[in-house]
Symmetry: C2
Subunit: 616 residues, 2 copies
């Protein structure tokens, strides 16, 4: 993910992998709804979906039967219930090798080949704040025949739980849950009369517990807990043979039968929850993925969290290296992503406890699953609350970042009263809300949140409200955006006069894409008449907010309504390159709106702007 | 399309093409909504969409301005308005070469390579009713160096308007509209301030007329009428240079500017409306596509009609050759597809006249576009009526087949009173209605109409209604389906005992796939308890009708409701392999429902069944 983003944005990448080949079998497989959004935004989703992953919409719970021997289903719940406004409300399950190859192919298109089987033998950082290539890295072929020394701007260690880079940096790992486990995992094709074999299932029986996860190509994955550090005879080296795990699964699934036709992959490994003390020491050598956080595989979060670690770092390196943002911005990688990992571990524990206490009553699951936001959910019920949080977390939509220079809060230097206008449902540090709109130029119905590709640019969504009533505000916004002292002008492209008229996303600046959304019907919007020229230049990014949405069925401007923005007055939303809201501001006549944006960007950019009100 | 279907179904295909390479530039480009459904059903849609075709959602009309010089927009209308319940309510525009290559790649996977540049030099049919390979075909390389003689079961000529096969058969062509035209067509990249350059536009000015069609890769296609047989100086050989066409477009588009940056393809060709008298003489040598029908390119129907010609013939050849249907079934290819071509030519004329008389008033377009079915459309308004018909026709959803052995009518041999129960909105000979349902086995939300792939099987949709109230009817249906004298048993697979338990679509018969849809919530359906074993074997095809649909917002069983089937009583829908409804029957206790199906299939199958009531 990191190499893919940076290769696309023009950086030279040396990517080594200790394995001689891409993953052939096994390993990670779950892609959560938010990651599907991200892959779509990168244009990689369809290549992954072409492998026909299994899709998990519901999770089934099985417990010892009260009325007979064996197990019985106690309930099911939605994997991504309707209270989460997700574009793809399911998790896909697909072999990691297929996913890797999609990334590898994309890397190849951008000139990056993975060098394998190579490993890192040492590295050293000198003058990280002043040197252009401060990291010296020693690499060698695994058979020791070849060596290389690379002078790099950055080093990223995504080598997994036993990260050499982390160990060399003497970064410790904290274990939140003192209990360790040994897991057996088996991918294969089975013949069974168990009715939920195509569902994700958590099965508890008197013979032990198993988790069932459907896979592509008629396969199924079983996770079986083989040992726990709470066992009397605990050993982290305890193991079990393929045959023993199969026999165990047979006992657990009674009264249903299960026979293996083919075993694709089988592995036993100890896992303990752990989190790295630091993600970097010098903002030059970074860690991410399992090198920073380990946890049980049950919630399918490993690959997704690693994706988002890498994404978070990628765009920040880009905006720093391209001269847009202060180098200090890189410190937000650790603060943002370590907090997410801590939530993940915390969630991992609570998720386990949620079901160890008592199975939920059907009415609780119903209430929690089907309640739309604002419909009076019973927030006093601990189960419902934890259920909601866990769904938001596992879907990826619940991940949020704490206040900092990027994520506005009342402590942010941008102190305009226009920021975070009352009524808006958007929150700085959370994902932008999904919405359908109609593109004015070609009448295409599009997904607004996907309209700006993952290109390293901030996405500035101008919800323009009523085209007539708001005409002066929009004109003032355009005038102030294009004034000499604005953040927008400050980062204009050096080659601005030579940019092709076909350029859709970055005609003026590589760091911003402007989208204008009117609360009007498409055929009532005449770009030449309504839209100031700086915005009209993004003719591919002018939209009519005229698509009916079931979540706001009575609204005439559903996208405005979903964002909590007035359909007359609109508002401005700054979305970070990774899709998280940075700041929301009211759209008003006069310079106030752009002043607020100037102040926001001044907080982390290399320049300060116009009338920005900055606190020291 | 024909070769692709038959190759997939295991037939040996000799496919020759006179061109040395697949299409490099130009030619057809429009894929209508119904064709997108078909491509999706074949698993080819995503490969085509990967080329990022332009999507047409609306058509804009421009006429001489009343208030100034040049042209002005008089209105827009939806390309596939909401009264059509389309899964993909847009037309895609993509270079024919990309589409061809997707088919060629699929052919390759199934062992068929296109032999080029080869041509046909002669053919002869001997004993078409008794010989196994009655058609002797002479082929040669275009340079004359190599020759081949092929003994074939069938010969299909899809060689375009000047078809050698058609000429050899002495089949005449009728010209419905005596007026011929010369068209210029230009694909290229332009720079323009014309606001609708990304829309499909019909532009009429005092300097002539042009049609604008957006394309992939920033391209646009312009169609300009260069001459008409009504002109005083008419010549079908009149031509115009690239430069002349560009100059003409400049004049027509005033007051807007247009400059060409790149011309991809330019061609001038005369077109006259024509329709072939016959599509076959002996049910062995067939014609399809432009070999049978030619018309103006404006409505984008050429490739789509050719697709559907080929699809219609493909499955009929398959069911005849595999011993399922009588050879007489092949006669329905000409009767069904020639009637469609006649409608197309008729539509082509009316479409032109619709706008030559007067431009529609905005309120008419509004009324016609937004009215949902049954909401009291003003059917007396000729414009609204023609508009609706034209939308249905161009989208492909309006194409319907007349009564015959496949498409039930009161004259059909199947005379059961259970057929076509009152209330159903489905009509024999029209497309099955789209609906979302939840698959019980894995809780996936799926598109019911897409669940059975294009595999040559009839799709039998058992809308099972209420699982409790209808239990006896469903059991009786299952019992009668599996009785020795049923149509279902008659065509059981010879290898039925060796079929893998993973087989999803054809566990019992290669000619039928059964889908069972309950009017219940997914979690209330227990397959082992509710579903008779013959239906339960299709565990991938058991669904809960529990997905809310905006078109029937108050229904608890929206798919039942959309089909006009009672949510308690359900009904049985037989859908032909190409997606058109063959017959709808009530689902009742006793043998009546299966008797009706026996009678239906007896009308065109090689066997007769049970208690089928057949008229001589």
């Amino acid at each position: 993910m990191l190499s893919t983003c940076l290769s696309r944005w023009g950086y030279r990448i040396k990517h080594i992998d200790i394995r001689p080949e891409p993953t052939a079998t096994g390993r990670a497989d779950g892609i959560q709804p938010r990651s599907l959004d991200l892959l779509r935004n990168m244009g990689l989703k369809s290549a992954i979906m072409a492998h026909r992953p299994a899709r998990v919409y519901e999770v089934a719970f099985w417990d010892p039967s009260e009325s007979s021997k064996g197990i019985a289903r106690t309930g099911t719940w939605a994997s991504c219930p309707s209270f989460i406004d997700a574009r793809y409300p399911f998790t896909t399950l697909l072999h990691q090798g297929h996913i890797e190859r999609v990334f590898i192919a994309d890397l190849g298109k951008n000139g990056t080949e993975i060098q394998r089987p190579w490993t890192i033998t040492g590295f050293q950082t000198r003058n990280p704040d002043t040197s252009e290539y401060p990291v010296q890295v020693e690499l060698q072929h695994v058979n020791g025949t070849e060596k290389e020394t690379v002078n790099a701007k950055y080093l990223f260690g995504g080598e997994g739980a036993r990260s050499f880079v982390r160990q060399q940096l003497n970064i410790g790992v904290q274990h939140k849950d003192p209990i360790a486990h040994v897991w057996g995992v088996m991918d294969g094709v089975v013949k069974t009369d168990f009715p939920d074999i195509k569902m994700k299932c958590t099965i508890r029986s008197q013979h032990g517990s198993v988790m069932v996860i459907p896979r592509e190509d008629n396969m199924v994955r079983l996770y079986i807990q083989i040992a726990s550090s709470t066992d009397a005879d605990w050993s982290p080296r305890k193991t079990a043979s393929e045959f023993e795990v199969q026999a165990s699964a047979k006992r657990i699934l009674q009264p249903y039968s299960i026979e293996w036709e083919h075993v694709e992959w089988y592995s036993v490994y100890p896992i303990s929850q752990g989190i790295s003390d630091r993600y970097t020491l010098d903002q030059r050598v970074f860690l991410g993925g399992d090198a920073c956080h380990t946890h049980s595989p049950k919630a399918g979060q490993g690959m997704n969290t690693a994706f988002l670690d890498a994404l978070n770092l990628a765009w920040k390196i880009h905006v720093v290296e391209s001269g847009f943002a202060d180098r200090q911005l890189l410190a937000t990688y650790e603060s943002e992503r370590k907090a997410v990992a801590e939530s993940l571990l915390d969630f991992d524990n609570r998720y386990a406890k949620l079901f160890s206490q008592r199975p939920p009553v059907a009415s609780e699951v119903q209430a929690a699953s089907e309640t739309l936001p604002g419909a009076g959910l019973d927030a006093d019920n601990a189960f419902v609350r934890t259920f909601k949080e866990s769904c938001e977390f596992t879907s990826g939509y619940g991940v949020s970042y704490q206040p900092n220079a990027l994520n506005w809060s009342p402590d942010h230097p941008a102190q305009s009263p226009l920021v975070q206008p009352s009524g808006t449902t958007l929150r700085s540090g959370r994902l932008f809300v999904i919405a359908d709109v109609t593109r004015v130029a070609d009448a295409n119905v599009v997904h607004l949140e996907q309209e700006v590709p993952l290109n390293g640019s901030f996405r500035i969504f101008l919800f323009a409200g009523d085209p007539v009533k708001n005409r002066a505000a929009l004109r003032d916004l355009a005038d102030n955006l294009t004034s000499a002292e604005s953040f927008y002008t400050a980062y204009a492209r050096a080659d601005i006069d030579g940019v092709s008229h076909h350029e859709k996303h970055n005609p003026h600046s590589l760091f911003f894409t402007l989208c204008t959304i009117f609360a009007a019907k498409r055929h009532d919007i005449e770009i030449a008449r309504e839209v100031p020229s700086v915005l009209a230049r993004y003719r591919h990014h002018i939209y009519a907010d005229d698509r009916w949405d079931r979540r706001v069925p009575d609204s005439k401007a559903p996208a405005h309504a979903k964002m909590g923005l007035d359909e007359d007055k609109g508002g401005v939303v700054v979305v970070r390159p990774d899709g998280y809201v940075g700041l929301v501001a009211a759209l008003v006549e006069g310079p106030g709106t752009v002043d607020a944006l100037n102040a926001y960007f001044s907080a982390f950019c290399t320049k300060t702007f116009g009338k920005a009100t900055c606190q020291p």
